[in-house]
Symmetry: C2
Subunit: 114 residues, 2 copies
């Protein structure tokens, strides 16, 4: 792992559009742990979905309605949520904002060709 893979400045990784009003960039990762920054425009929807990777997410900014296995709440900057493996979850951006998603193991599907 080289210096650029360990010390990641925000501007060094391009954002990729992955949905309407949603942009993502993969930050530091290995096969077992992956951090991903996801930016949402106001009103953008991360539809309910699930994956075998466990996930923990930090709300860096904004205001989101977060649903995990039929439980919903509104989370703001400084709040966080944990998604057990294969648990259904989704978010709605009530304001524009940024989530920091971390997965274990890594989301291999985020590393394929764009």
């Amino acid at each position: 792992m080289n210096r650029e893979q360990m010390l990641v400045q925000a501007g060094s990784v391009p954002l990729m559009q992955v949905g309407e009003g949603i942009h993502r960039r993969v930050l530091g990762h290995d096969a077992d742990l992956m951090m991903v920054e996801v930016r949402f425009a106001k009103g953008a929807v991360g539809a309910l979905h699930n994956h075998p990777n466990r996930q923990v997410t930090y709300v860096a900014s904004g205001k989101f309605e977060v649903t995990i296995v039929h439980e919903s709440t509104v989370l703001r900057a400084g709040d966080s949520f944990f998604v057990p493996p294969s648990a259904e979850h989704g978010v709605v951006a009530l304001e524009g904002g940024t989530l920091v998603d971390v997965f274990s193991p890594a989301r291999g599907d985020f590393l394929g060709p764009a």
Copy 2:
């Protein structure tokens, strides 16, 4: 895992002082993945150390000099870093700020009696 363990509002977990000018709270976690918020006063030092857990960290706010295996750089809000297992690392808070550390596997030593 109950609702309170999945949807974690910032005010629901007390901060614990873990060093001079350093406070920590453990957010969502299971045995394989753990998110921890760490707040640093200006000038606080997270001394060089290492652990077998891999770590990825998001700079939520502030300005930090980050060192990983003898490489140092200054990181600001939105930047991040990855620490391979057992790699020596440390930070100096050049301004007060918050780091979001994520470990895999979880830091069992953070869960013992206070």
